[in-house]
């Protein structure tokens, strides 16, 4: 009884207390609810959240003058009108935004910026029950369907014959529920370009006139594009991110999905922008700042792979050979007659039914048909075949192939991966050399040259595409102690030489394009800087062993005040042979004869002999000897250099 009374008493007490609390608290609570956002804004200010690293990662803030500025340029990315340049204002606007009315639905700040919201809720210990319930239908639906299995940084390597690809590209792949990599999601950041001509394109690209967007595609679309059409091998770097880290990255991708940033080819490019996604996943990775703080302002996709390796973020590497690589690999397993057979099938000169007994053994029939099918795919991708012709031949080859019950070898099993790109030499080069030159006078000299990027024929090939030279802003100065003179020798704005070997299967055009300043011999025997544009085209073939032999037809325009009509235009052939006698030694010999027939008329005949010896990936000793005849003057020089890649 006593106990019962006590219980009743306690119950009454509770009821009383409950009402009392309600009565006393309800007006106060309403006030507190209204004040809650401002209390949080105060708290955020006190905690200096706007200075926190993660806030700056999510908003892409970087130091700019005395303040900070976001690299994202789309106003939609910010809730505060001052958001781009004011991290505090954006933080406060976001905190207030969390409490906006539920009627906004998918447009609610919490739906648009889930990563920011989640971080603020955590940092400010926001009471979830005091947030207005909001339904983010689109976001929830998407996230519900994604299992974060792994994240992969994908690097389609350079494609030898196309300069737009020579630096490579990077994208991120999110592996979800489906085990097949092909069904993963590829997150790509790229510039949206208009229909501009070459020079306009270059100008706009350099100065940020294009808008960069993030896009998400099925990975098979990217594999088709890189492997099947552009014929670039793909490197896949699986990152050691945890499921939570990948989730954070995907939340941030959601925030970026409909925004743009001004795209700069060399700095704020595809590779740089992806680094923010990785920082959002794992803030302890310091990836974006080092690129801005160092003297070198440009970002080369291959460098970002190196950055990730150095930060121990890479778990494993996978090589995905392109269609063209696959053809070369399949061909290597066959004898010459069988290769010819495959080409005959692809060219329709022979029907699969006529193949009987023509291979060295019956087991070789299937590999020949496999090769023929891929050669057809290759030629079709190169527009060398009409769709109807291609399909008719392709299907007849496949039909014949399907009658042989054996399964083909996995390409990835037979294709030996080349050196991983990040293990090759670094892109910037500093060369110091000493040499001797003889023209009308003889003298010793010391050379110093700097090349910010990227790869020269005489640089070590490991990790790079054989025969693909692309030098940017190669700057060289010469000091001659006898004269005490320091002169600019060269300033090559761009210097591309693309030697793509032709064979039974491929018939690419090799070409060059070089422009910039060069010091050349003049009529009076003096040496002066001229501005030149030097394009050319021709063919290259493999040289037995390891090497390339090539011939080009070149034209050369030189501009100088000293020339008659201030210019000299010449054309003529050039030939070269590059060999790699051993893994560490490269040797090259080149000759050219150009006749200048317009403006200042003269001839230049030259021969160059080069050797380079690789000490390690980033140190090379090179020797260059050159002899030339210009006007009636002979120039002979030899220089021994040490090349350091950094």
């Amino acid at each position: 009884m006593r106990e019962a009374n006590a219980r009743v008493y306690r119950a009454l007490c509770s009821v009383y207390l409950f009402f009392a609390l309600c009565l006393t608290l309800s007006p106060a609570t309403a006030a507190a609810e209204a004040d809650y956002p401002s209390t949080l804004v105060e708290a955020g200010r006190a905690l200096r959240l706007a200075d926190e690293r993660y806030w700056n990662i999510l908003l892409h803030y970087k130091k700019s003058g005395s303040g900070r500025e976001s690299l994202v340029d789309d106003p939609v990315f910010f809730l505060s009108p001052a958001g781009k340049t004011d991290p505090e204002a954006e933080l406060e606007a976001t905190i207030s935004g969390l409490f906006q009315g539920p009627e906004l639905g998918d447009d609610h700040p919490r739906c648009r910026f889930p990563a920011r919201s989640a971080w603020l809720v955590e940092q400010l210990s926001i009471d979830a029950s005091r947030l207005t319930p909001v339904v983010c239908a689109a976001y929830d639906e998407s996230m519900r369907n994604i299992t974060m299995r792994s994240a992969v940084l994908v690097f389609p390597a350079a494609h030898g014959n196309g300069p737009a690809s020579m630096f490579g590209h990077t994208l991120i792949r999110i592996d979800s529920t489906v085990q097949s990599d092909l069904m993963s999601y590829a997150v790509n950041y790229a510039a949206k370009m208009e229909d501009d001509s070459g020079p306009v394109y270059i100008f706009k690209g350099l100065f940020g006139f294009y808008k960069g967007h993030y896009s998400i595609l099925p990975y098979y679309e990217k594999v088709k594009e890189y492997s099947g059409i552009e014929h670039r091998d793909i490197w896949e770097y699986r990152l050691n991110l945890t499921e939570d880290e990948i989730r954070r990255m995907v939340m941030h991708i959601w925030e970026l999905r409909q925004t743009y940033s001004d795209y700069y080819f060399f700095t704020e490019n595809c590779s740089y922008n992806l680094l923010f996604l990785l920082e959002a996943a794992r803030p302890s990775l310091d990836l974006t700042d080092p690129y801005r703080n160092r003297a070198r302002f440009w970002v080369i996709p291959g460098d970002t792979i190196r950055t990730l390796t150095e930060n121990n973020a890479v778990a494993s590497v996978k090589y995905r050979p392109s269609l063209a690589t696959g053809i070369a690999v399949r061909a290597r397993a066959l004898v010459a007659d069988e290769q010819v057979l495959a080409v005959a099938l692809a060219e329709g000169r022979m029907k699969p039914a006529e193949m009987g007994g023509r291979t060295s053994s019956p087991e070789r029939t299937a590999p020949v048909l496999d090769l023929a099918a891929e050669v057809l795919q290759y030629r079709y991708s190169k527009k060398e075949l009409d769709r109807e012709v291609y399909l008719q031949r392709y299907l007849s080859v496949l039909r014949a192939r399907s009658t042989i019950a054996e399964t083909s070898k996995d390409l990835s099993a037979i294709a030996e991966p080349p050196t991983q790109p990040e293990l090759g030499h670094r892109a910037a080069r500093l060369a110091m050399g000493a040499g001797w030159r003889s023209t009308n006078e003889r003298r010793w000299f010391a050379d110093l040259s700097v090349r910010p990027a990227y790869h020269d024929l005489m640089d070590p090939d490991d990790g790079y595409v054989e025969g693909a030279q692309i030098n940017f802003f190669d700057l060289g100065a010469r000091y001659e102690p006898d004269k005490g003179s320091l002169t600019l020798q060269k300033m090559h704005i761009v210097d591309i030489l693309s030697l793509a070997p032709r064979d039974r299967f491929f018939a690419p055009v090799s070409w060059k394009f070089s422009t910039g300043l060069d010091r050349v011999l003049m009529k009076d025997g003096s040496e002066r800087l001229v501005f030149r544009v030097n394009p050319g085209g021709g063919a290259a073939y493999r040289f037995p062993g390891r090497g390339l032999i090539y011939a080009l037809f070149e034209s050369d325009v030189q501009l100088s005040n000293v020339y008659e009509d201030r210019m000299s235009l010449g054309v003529g052939p050039s030939v070269g042979l590059d060999v790699v006698p051993s893994g560490r030694w490269k040797s090259s010999i080149q000759a050219a004869a150009l006749a200048y027939f317009l403006g200042e008329t003269h001839r230049i005949v030259s021969g160059i002999f080069m050797q380079s010896w690789m000490i390690d990936a980033n140190n090379v000793i090179s020797l260059k000897a050159k002899r030339e005849k210009t006007f009636r003057h002979y120039g002979t020089e030899a220089v021994l250099s040490w090349n350091w890649y950094f």
Partner: protein, 153 residues
């Protein structure tokens, strides 16, 4: 004047040469479905801003049905599988003829074929290649129907 003209011609030629060296094709769909544009390659750096995939609902949702039960999963509105087949038709045909391959594996997974049953199914597909791809004019719906017929035989 003539000299300047020549100079201009050479410069234009060199630029043309350079931009043609930039040229790639672009990806398309279906058997032989590589649409090759004449756009210079740098424009191909533009990825179509496709906001589907990861953040759209339709592409998900392979829920029930395995071939083993004799129930073709095509009955469901399976956009994701269809998109995949349309986009990878050439490689799928090649893998079927060769008896294996990554595209065929992805296809089998999307069809929810248990791993243990795949080798047998691939052999069946290979043996019936001519039934699945009767002509070069075959359309997606036919390929899909033919595959289902072969698989259920």
């Amino acid at each position: 004047m003539r000299k300047m003209l020549m100079l201009v011609v050479v410069l234009v030629l060199s630029l043309t040469l350079t931009s043609s060296a930039f040229a790639y094709g672009s990806a398309g769909c279906g058997l032989g479905g590589i649409v090759i544009g004449n756009d210079p390659g740098w424009k191909q750096l533009v990825a179509t801003f496709l906001n589907g995939a990861i953040f759209s609902n339709q592409v998900f949702g392979i829920t029930t049905g395995t071939l083993g039960c004799g129930k073709p999963i095509w009955a469901s509105n399976n956009d994701r599988l269809n998109q995949f087949v349309v986009a990878n038709m050439d490689n799928l045909a090649k893998d079927i003829a060769m008896g294996k391959g990554e595209t065929l594996d992805a296809f089998a997974e999307l069809m929810e074929v248990p791993t243990a049953e795949r080798a047998a199914l691939y052999a069946k597909f290979q043996a019936n290649f001519a039934t699945i791809f009767p002509s070069e004019n075959v359309v997606l719906a036919d390929v899909v129907d033919n595959i289902v017929i072969v698989a259920n035989n």
